[in-house]
Point group: C2
Chain length 288, copies 2
Amino acid sequence: MNWDDLRFFVALARAGSLSEAARRLAADHTTVARRVGELEQALGLKLFDRMPRGWVPTAEGAALAERAADVEAAIHAVARFADGRSETIDGRVSISAPPALASLWLAPRLAPLTRAHPGLTLDLIGDVADASLVRREADVALRLRQPSDSGLIGRRIGDLRYGLYGARGLVEATAGEDLDFLGYDERLDGVPQQLWLRARARDRRIALVTNDLVTLLTAVRAGMGLAALPHVLAAADDGLVCLEEAEAATRPIWLVVHPDLRRSARVRAVMDHLIEVTAPLRRPVVGA
Amino acid sequence: MNWDDLRFFVALARAGSLSEAARRLAADHTTVARRVGELEQALGLKLFDRMPRGWVPTAEGAALAERAADVEAAIHAVARFADGRSETIDGRVSISAPPALASLWLAPRLAPLTRAHPGLTLDLIGDVADASLVRREADVALRLRQPSDSGLIGRRIGDLRYGLYGARGLVEATAGEDLDFLGYDERLDGVPQQLWLRARARDRRIALVTNDLVTLLTAVRAGMGLAALPHVLAAADDGLVCLEEAEAATRPIWLVVHPDLRRSARVRAVMDHLIEVTAPLRRPVVGA
DNA sequence: CGCGATATGTGGAAATTCGCGCAGATGATG
DNA sequence: CATCATCTGCGCGAATTTCCACATATCGCG
């Protein structure tokens, strides 16, 4: 039995079709078919039904996929260990962060890092679902919650403070009037800034809900209403004014890394830079 | 990273030399060297120091070997799962049993099994150290202790009863005289038959100690003294006579299998046969 | 001290594997 | 109903991998 065939198997089981699996593996679809076929022969099991629109796992294939996932997890541990020992600051480091933070705030602050290390490549992943560091979907992550996985190392590197913001034109034109509020949708009910907004809004209309902070920011800037926005994103925007602090909406910022990677020079360099750029967030009061 | 390279890595780490690893892998030593070299390059670590007498793991290689063992364990689980689903009674089944039981008692009772299933190959492993079923060193095992590993399924299929035996000529010639005793050495102190013998011997000399039951049996047959022997081995021997029962020395016989393999037709057939041939051991009193 | 056994390392031939191109089929789309 | 995109399947040439034979080094032993 060829262990590497399992790599193709898990990719195929996850992708659903030969072609998609081949793309993700950077291989040819005929190769995927051959390797998985050989695995079937080696194990003496039919793992997939060959359908015109894709290969669908048989019952045994699906059951095997669970066990193959254990193999993959162990492989990831091996890779993490190796990465954790590398002494040179080059290669690739993936950073996971909430999408708006990644795109609007983190992205423009990474240039000094890549400039300092010519061999370094960054992969900035903005994802609503926290990337799994154990499954190696990212190397380090910025999160707004304390990591729940006990196998990970988290360090609180600051606080994300919020204020109630509105478009300058709108606020100056309407002064003290009751303006519409803009907030998050149901999937994000329960986060502090949303709770604060609901309490603050009382009977006022919440004119727009979204799951994306960038959308929220854009809507506020367009004069659609008021929203609780992080100071780090809104304070620098000349088109926005802060009406009041939203102290209760404050969220902690955690820097999370897998222990195996903590000592990697490459990952260490990225973490140091993240700690450096978040320095302003560790001051008692942040904002304009 | 090629997952199959890890297979070569664990083999090399375990074998200690390219040549030995190549033998176990049924590959060429140059292949082992190249594959492990590629793994080193992929991980960016030097895993072995190339010595004239063998490749010795570096500190990182040794540490990685532990994690690679996890991969191997997961691979074994995959293989077990596949074997557990096979519907045909062919292929290979390995049986682990105490050496004397394997060679003298079990071996002559396996013929009907292979005769009934022409595609079946048996691998009978007589080993003092219980083969690890989790690590797939054997498929089923006969053991004289309840299995301690909670992940395994054990079934008590009988009892191994002992008697105090001596060579017929010796016993008839000396009648009631105090004969020498023969027993196990220190490594096996604590097993019931040895405790019984010690209690029974009192101040009599134990003229020979060994760790091997076959040796003990041969020595008894040669008229060297008396020993506690299993009835199943000694009772059929015309040259031996049983002087007394050793009820306290009775040991349970457990049939152990990994749960993944329990439903395999191949393994099931072997287990059924083992249960059949041990039927006499489930009678209240066993012997001549 | 020399000899045999066993080890690693090197270069070239053989075998295997891989990827490419194309055909055939299916489902979505206008 | 025609079209387009996407998927699987097959054959062939190329590239990679593997094995084989030989050279060289080291350890144990008489």
